[in-house]
């Protein structure tokens, strides 16, 4: 209260007894529901090279009739701390531009990323959106961004990671993958990374290529990422948004695990799978340790010749002897193993005789992945790697 310095207060009549105490500020305790009853808003990360048609797709989404309140957040520098601008479309189609207030500097030892906090604050101010799309720069590695938004349930965030959508230009994706990175001269390009982390790949500019070229492009994408759904579009037009670009639920469900036989098409990154026997508590902890060594140490444990690997995406389904099903989800270093949600609802699922893990990553070509996990589970692997 600067008035104190500028202007004197009103004199008081002494005889009238005590001064009036200022009224205590209202303590309006905004009680949050304590645990998981928060209505969460899905966030989809959208990546793709410059020229793949990201902006066109975004414009399409922002202007199409969908009666949904969608926020498109632009992330210019590939780091969520640099999120700065948000475009919001309301149900009635009006566009609003907002600057996000990202806190400067770091508050020590917080678990939430600044970008996440900024989006939560925006929603507190503007009301909830139905969907959030995070549009990254053309050179962003989605594997660096996804873990920031794949938050623990425990932190009670108002947003959750729905999935990663990658746009590719059908007319030159094969060439891009073949040529490697023009600057680093490495086989592995950002295009590889954007495809390997994707839950949905939008193969855009269909109109510029022949049917044969389309098939070739699809094959190349499947060879890298056997889990992603592929949508073919022209000029960024998508028939429907739900289930394709929105409500992907890539981090809460494990649907198809149909990774085909390892492909020889791409030596940089490919999709592989292993079968896992029915687990008990001990075996499960061994499976978990095997995953940890791959994801955290970047190593494929083996009886002989440990190999360097980099896992980008992991999905799996495990089962125990009682028929209980567990879902495995991972992106880069972060993974979780949780009870299958269907299990909770008591819905009967067909029983499998084995579990399965699908891994997308680099350095897996020509290695005996199945041999590694078998040795780990039944040999001495788990002891050797207990605390390395």
């Amino acid at each position: 209260m600067e008035d104190d310095d500028e202007m004197p207060p009103s004199l008081v009549v002494a005889d009238d007894g005590e001064l009036q105490q200022p009224a205590a500020p209202q303590t309006d305790v905004a009680m949050y529901p304590e645990d998981e009853n928060i209505q969460k808003v899905p966030i989809t990360i959208v990546t793709g090279y410059l020229g793949a048609g990201k902006s066109t797709l975004m414009n399409y989404i922002l202007t199409a009739q969908h009666n949904k309140k969608i926020a498109v957040i632009l992330n210019e520098f590939g780091d969520s701390a640099d999120i700065e601008k948000s475009l919001t479309v309301s149900g009635d189609g009006a566009l609003v531009e907002e600057w996000l207030e990202v806190a400067n500097g770091c508050i020590c030892c917080t678990v939430k990323d600044n970008g996440v906090q900024a989006i939560e604050n925006l929603m507190e101010k503007k009301g909830k959106f139905d969907y959030i799309l995070l549009e990254t720069t053309g050179l962003a590695d989605p594997g660096n961004i996804a873990p920031m938004f794949w938050l623990d349930d425990g932190v009670g965030s108002t947003i959750y990671l729905d999935g990663i959508v990658t746009l590719v230009d059908a007319s030159n994706i094969v060439r891009t993958l073949d040529e490697g990175d023009p600057e680093t001269k490495k086989e592995l390009t950002t295009a590889h990374l954007q495809i390997s982390h994707a839950d949905v790949v939008v193969l855009n500019k269909r109109d510029l290529i022949s049917d044969e070229q389309l098939e070739e492009a699809k094959e190349r994408i499947r060879a890298i990422n056997g889990l992603a759904r592929i949508i073919v579009t022209e000029r960024g037009k998508v028939d429907k948004l739900d289930g394709w670009l929105l409500d992907i639920n890539a981090y809460s469900t494990v649907t198809e695990l149909k990774a085909g036989p390892p492909s020889k098409l791409d030596k940089s990154i490919a999709t592989y799978n292993v079968t896992v026997p029915l687990v008990d508590e001990k075996l499960l902890s061994h499976v978990e340790r095997w995953i940890q060594v791959l994801l955290w140490d970047g190593k494929l444990p083996a009886k002989e010749g440990v190999k360097e690997v980099q896992i980008h995406r992991l999905k799996g389904r495990l089962q125990d002897q009682s028929g209980k099903k567990l879902l495995v989800q991972g992106v880069r270093e972060v993974y979780e193993i949780v009870d299958s949600p269907k299990q909770k609802e008591g819905v009967e699922e067909e029983s499998a005789s084995t579990g399965k893990l699908v891994l997308i990553g680099k350095g897996l070509e020509g290695v005996d992945l199945q041999g590694s996990i078998d040795w780990f589970l039944h040999g001495n692997g788990v002891d050797e790697w207990a605390s390395q």
């Binding site: 209260m1 004197p8 500020p25 305790v29 770091c106 009670g156 979780e336």
Partner: protein, 396 residues
């Protein structure tokens, strides 16, 4: 002071009658008899200063207000505080650290940014023998400083005074008080009272009988940080059933978490242990802040959340040093931050307690580098107090 001069200068015989009934106006160069109008600030301070009119008061204001001591007040009167605690400003002036004491990189950065922390975001360091000796030393010093601060805890002492004690104890030990200017933190220690979870800023509020206070001390010495905090009971009235239940559970949560630390322990595991114990006692575990790596950097990997079912990355390996520092709330787990940008308080106003140690992973277990000394102040209440309160911990 003008009013005294007027009184003194006035011939005593003449004024005597008048002053009995009507005091003289304290206005500059006024000296007229005043009515019943008084300066409200002086009145509050129990001092009489009368004025003949609001006009005269206004004219004299610039001069008069100098006689007022700097008022202690809440700088955020419009903020919805969830408990009874209020910040008591002004903060004391920034305390200086002699140039002879080595400083961390953020000490002189305008926003207190630690460039070395920004640069190192990917790996958990394994310390060599020299590093480990450095950590042992700074952690021992941090324990000494915390104990000195704890010994000063009593009703009536302000947290600013505790800050001064911590600051001077650090300097005596050739150490920089790590919180000072870290991300712009204005003081040398965090003092968190009652419903404040952590990062409370020392100010002019005196401790009251019945408070609980967490003192979080970090020293930077010989190139290493040592980080430690404990919660203390203030005065006999603070040993209520609720307070003891809360504070002792927080203490036990830390002990229990430390008991599982050894090479191979996943960093996601302490949270499961902590939440199980706290939840079983109907207490909340704060989720916004987590344990952290600490050595040459103040805060770095690993992140060690204190809540269950987290996806923390990595396992403990021999030679790593980090903190575990559970914050336990009497009610719900949610926190919010005061407009000062630091003070984290419970959202429901319930009290909160925290304990922290810095530890080293050894070949087959853990060495608590900031362990209590035989004469450390604080600690759990006597069995007699527990019995009188009817508290039994059956789940340990």
């Amino acid at each position: 002071m003008t009013n005294d001069e007027v009184k003194v200068d006035a011939p005593q015989d003449e004024v005597k009658e008048v002053t009995k009934e009507v005091p003289l106006c304290s206005g500059i160069d006024c000296g007229k008899p005043a009515g019943k109008l008084q300066c409200p600030t002086c009145l509050k301070l129990g001092k009489a200063s009368f004025f003949c009119s609001q006009d005269c008061f206004k004219k004299s204001w610039v001069e008069h207000k100098r006689a007022h001591p700097t008022p202690i007040k809440n700088p955020f009167p419009n903020f919805n505080f969830t408990g009874k605690l209020r910040p008591a400003y002004p903060l004391s002036a920034k305390r200086e650290v002699p140039a002879s004491i080595p400083r961390p990189d953020y000490a002189d950065h305008p926003q207190g940014v630690s460039q070395s922390e920004v640069n190192e975001k990917t790996t958990v360091a394994i310390l060599n023998e020299k590093d480990i000796e450095g950590m042992r030393k700074v952690c021992r010093l941090a324990r000494e400083v915390l104990d000195i601060a704890a010994a000063a805890v009593r009703p009536g002492i302000t947290t600013d005074e505790i800050d001064r004690i911590v600051h001077e104890a650090c300097i005596e030990r050739d150490s920089y008080p790590s919180p000072l200017n870290y991300s712009g933190f204005p003081k040398s220690v965090c003092t968190s009272i009652n419903e404040v979870i952590c990062h409370g800023i020392p100010d002019q509020r005196p401790l009251e009988d019945g408070d609980i206070i967490n003192i979080d001390v970090t020293l930077y010495h010989g190139g290493y940080h040592g980080d430690i905090n404990e919660t203390y009971y203030v005065g006999p009235k603070s040993y209520t059933k609720e307070n003891v239940w809360l504070v002792e559970t927080a203490r036990q949560c830390l002990d229990k978490a430390i008991s599982i630390v050894k090479p191979g322990m996943p960093f996601r595991e302490p949270g499961n242990v902590i939440e199980k114990l706290a939840k079983g006692r109907k207490l909340g575990v704060v989720r916004t802040y987590c344990g952290h790596g600490v050595h040459k950097l103040f805060h770095c990997l690993p992140n060690i959340p204190h809540y269950a079912r987290n996806k923390a990355v990595g396992i403990a390996k021999e030679g790593q040093t980090f903190s575990i520092e559970p914050m336990i709330n009497g009610g719900g787990w949610r926190d919010h931050t005061w407009p000062d940008g630091w003070t984290s308080s419970t959202l429901d106003g319930s009290y909160s307690s925290q304990f922290e140690h810095t530890m080293l992973v050894t070949k087959d277990g853990v060495e608590v580098l900031t362990a209590r000394l035989p004469n450390s102040p604080g600690g759990p209440p006597s069995q007699e107090i527990l019995d009188n309160l009817g508290i039994k911990f059956n789940d340990l």
